[in-house]
Symmetry: none
Subunit: 420 residues, 2 copies
C-alpha cells in the first residue's frame, strides 16, 4: 500500500448537520503507518454516487477507506454500492446474523427485522467484527479494477459512528495495512510557535516549505499559534526519524524563541509547567478577555499547583474595589490604558501574593471603539517581583479572535519576557 | 443554481491535523437558500489535484465553492489552479495590492513581500473583499466548461481560515447565490435545547425524526446543548416557512422549557438578554470551571450591561480571602461541598452587589477524586435576593466536558429555576 483515499458517506455530512471527524482520524492513523491519504470524497447515501466515489478513490490510491452507510435503515446503501463496485452479489452470512441476534439478546431485546440486512456481505469479502454496535464492517480486494496499475486494491467499509469506526479500524484494519504498507517509513514532528504570523514565519523559513521537499514542512495557524508539521519519508523508521530530527533542529535554530513547544502542547501548558518546576505562582486580572486567560490556564490538569487567584473585573467599580485600581487613574486615562493594565496586574499580584500577575484591559468589540482607541486595542501587563512590563496591541478578526489572541499573547509575554 | 459542490484544499486536511468545519458550515448555508450540496472533495495543495477536483465538482453541480490555499505561502496554490481551470492568466490588481499594504500599515508594519501574490486574480474574475485578513476571495464564471449542461458555472474561492471564510461568504457570496437559486424553496429553523440528552429528546419526539419526512428534523449535540434542525422543502418560500413553523410549534409544545432559544443562540446570550431586559446583574465565583462560565458570559457582545464581577478562587486561600468563605466550612465539609458552593455564591453576590451570583466548586479531574467525591462531582449554587439554591451533579466524559457542562448547567439553573 502506498497511498490511501477516504470516502465519507452520509446525507448528514452534506447538509451541514454533522462535522465528520472520521476522515481526519483515519488520515492521521494511515499516515502513522506510512500510507498518506491523498484525497477524500464526501457523498450522499446514494448507490450511484457511492460507486462513483469508490471508482475515483481507487484511481487515486491503492487503499480505499469508506465510512458510513452500513446501518439498518433504508438509506444505508454502502453494502449494495460496494457489491456493485466489486461486481459481485450480497450474500447472507448466517454467523453474522447470529452475532447480531446475540447483540440484542444480551440487552434483553429481540433483533428488529430491519437489522437482518446488516448480515449481508459481498461475496468473497471479509466481515469485520463490530464490538460496539451491530453492523459489521467489510474488507475486500478489488482485482482487475480500473486502473489496476499496482495490483489489487484494498477496500474497507467501516461504520459512520466514530467510536465504532475507531475500534474496528484499530482492531481489524490497522494491522492488515501495516503488513501491506509500502516499505517506506514516515516520521512526523510538530513544532508549536507563537509571536509571529503565518506569512512572517514562512518568510523566515524560505525554501524549506517548498512542496515536494522531503521532509515536507507544513504550516497551520490557530488562535495565534503557528504549528509547523515536519513529515519525513524514508526507507526505514530510523532514517525517517533522523531526517525529521535534522529538520526540527534546523527550524529551531531559525525560529529560536518563537518555538514554544512540540506536539499538541498549548502555551498554557508550557508556561504552567515552567512555573510548577520553579515553584512559582501566577494570578490574573482580566477585563476584556473576561475569563479566557483563566480558562486557558485551568484547562491544564494540575494547574492548581501554580494558579491560585483570578479576577474578572468587567466594570470600573470591580477594578477599583477588587484590585485597588485608583478611580482617578480610570478618570484620567480611561479603563483601557497602559496605566490601568498596570494597576490591575500590580493589584492582583499584591492581593494574591503570587510571583507573577497579568492585567489585561482592552476593547474586544464589536462596539466601544474610537479613533484613539480602536476596537481590538488591548494593553497587557505582566507584573513580577523584579519588574512590571506593559505592551500595547491592536488585534483584528473580531471579538472572539481578539479575546483569545490577547490571552495567548499574555501567556507568551510571561514565557518570553520573563524568561521563565 | 440547483446544486453545489465543495472543494476543500489543504495538506493539513489530509494529514489529519485539522478537522475542517468549513464544508459543513457552507453546506448548511447553501441548503438554507435552497441549494443542496451534493458532493465534497478534499485535496492537497497541489495544482493538478485542485484542477481535477474543480472539474469533478463542476460535473456534479452548478455552484462550486472552494476553500483554502489562498494564503501567501508557497503551498497556497488555489489561485493558480483556478486560473488553469478557467483557462486564463493571473493578473496583478493594483487596488488589491494597495488594500493589502494598507492592512499591514494600519498595524504599523510593512507588507511582507510574500503577500504580494495575494493581489493576483484570474483575468475576468471578481475579487471578494476580506475584512479580517489579507487574502481576497475570488468569484468567477466558467463558460463552456465540461460539461456545461446548464449554462455557466459559478466558481467561488474562499480563504481556509473559518472566520475569514464565513464573513466573506455572508457578505459577498450568499446574496449572489440567493438571486440565482432554483425555484424550490427551503426553510430552516433551529431550536436549541438544554437539560436532557440526545437519546431522551429523540425518544420524546418519536416518529417526528424519521428520515424522508418533510420537514426533516435532525438532531445534533454539542457541550450539552441539543440542536434540533427543521428543514422544510416546498414550492415557494411561504409554503416552506409555514411547514417549518408548524413543526417548530409542535416541537415547542413537546419539549416545553427544554427549549431555550433558536438559531445560533447560546445559553449565555439568552440568559444575558433576559437580565439586560430586567436591568438585573450577575456575578460569578468559579473554582473547578476556572473561568469557563465568565468566558461564556463575556463571549456575548454587550455583556458588560449585566456582568460586572467574576472571581476564580482556585485555591482555598482565595475562597477565604476574596469571597469570605469561612475556613472552618472548608475544613469541615471540604472545598467541594454544597456548603462551600453556597458560601462562594453568597460571598460573590455580597461583594459585587448584583441581583444574582453563581458559585461553582467541583472536581474536574482527571485526578483528585475519591469514593465519596468522584471526579466529575460539581456543586452549583445560584444566590439571589429571594433565595439561594444549590444542586449536585456528577458529570462524565473528562475534564473539558465536565467544565463546559458545569458552566452551561449553571446558566440553565439561572434560566429555569429563577424564571428570569
Amino acid at each position: 500500500m502506498e497511498k490511501a483515499s477516504i470516502v465519507s458517506i452520509g446525507n448528514e455530512l452534506l447538509s451541514g448537520q454533522t462535522v465528520s471527524t472520521n476522515a481526519s482520524y483515519l488520515s492521521e492513523k494511515l499516515l502513522s503507518v506510512g500510507i498518506p491519504v491523498v484525497s477524500c470524497y464526501t457523498v450522499a447515501d446514494d448507490i450511484d454516487q457511492i460507486v462513483r466515489a469508490l471508482e475515483l478513490a481507487s484511481e487515486d490510491a491503492d487503499a480505499v477507506m469508506a465510512t458510513g452507510g452500513l446501518g439498518p435503515t433504508d438509506d444505508d446503501l454502502t453494502r449494495q454500492a460496494l457489491a456493485q463496485f466489486l461486481g459481485t452479489e450480497l450474500q447472507l452470512r448466517s454467523n453474522l446474523l447470529q452475532t447480531i441476534k446475540d447483540f440484542f439478546a444480551k440487552r434483553g431485546r429481540e433483533m428488529p427485522a430491519k437489522c437482518e440486512v446488516e448480515a449481508y456481505i459481498p461475496a468473497g469479502a471479509k466481515a469485520l467484527a463490530n464490538n460496539l454496535g451491530t453492523a459489521p464492517g467489510i474488507m475486500a480486494e478489488a482485482h482487475g479494477k480500473v486502473p489496476a496499475k499496482r495490483g489489487p486494491k484494498l477496500l474497507v467499509a467501516l461504520p459512520g459512528v466514530p467510536a465504532e469506526m475507531k475500534q474496528m479500524f484499530e482492531e481489524s484494519v490497522l494491522g492488515e495495512l501495516q503488513e501491506r504498507a509500502h516499505s517506506q517509513a514516515v516520521a512526523v514532528r510538530k513544532l508549536r510557535c507563537f509571536g509571529k504570523g503565518e506569512s512572517e514565519i514562512a518568510e523566515l523559513l524560505g525554501g524549506l516549505m517548498q512542496r515536494g521537499r522531503n521532509p515536507l514542512i507544513n504550516c497551520t495557524a490557530h488562535a495565534g499559534v503557528i504549528t509547523l508539521c515536519i513529515t519525513a519519508t524514508a526507507k526505514d523508521k530510523q532514517q525517517a526519524e533522523e531526517l525529521a530530527q535534522k529538520d526540527e533542529a534546523m527550524l529551531r535554530s531559525i525560529l529560536d524563541r518563537l518555538v514554544y513547544g512540540t506536539g499538541e502542547q498549548t502555551l498554557a501548558e508550557v508556561v504552567g509547567e515552567k512555573l510548577a518546576q520553579k515553584g512559582q505562582t501566577i494570578a490574573v486580572a482580566e477585563s476584556c478577555t473576561g475569563g479566557v486567560l483563566a480558562k486557558l490556564l485551568t484547562d491544564v490538569p494540575g494547574s492548581s499547583r501554580y494558579f491560585t487567584h483570578g479576577w474578572i473585573t468587567y466594570s470600573n467599580e470591580a477594578k477599583i474595589s477588587e484590585l485597588g485600581v485608583p478611580a482617578e487613574l480610570i478618570d484620567e486615562h480611561g479603563a483601557v490604558s497602559q496605566q490601568v493594565a498596570e494597576a490591575m496586574a500590580r493589584g492582583a499580584r499584591k492581593r494574591a501574593g503570587t510571583d507573577f500577575a497579568v492585567g489585561i484591559t482592552g476593547i474586544a468589540g464589536p462596539a466601544g471603539g474610537s479613533e484613539q482607541k480602536p476596537v481590538g486595542l488591548v494593553y497587557i501587563c505582566v507584573d513580577s517581583d523584579s519588574r512590571c512590563e506593559t505592551q500595547r496591541f491592536v488585534f483584528s478578526h473580531g471579538r472572539a479572535s481578539t479575546r483569545i489572541r490577547a490571552a495567548q499573547t499574555a501567556l507568551n509575554m510571561v514565557r518570553t519576557r520573563f524568561c521563565i
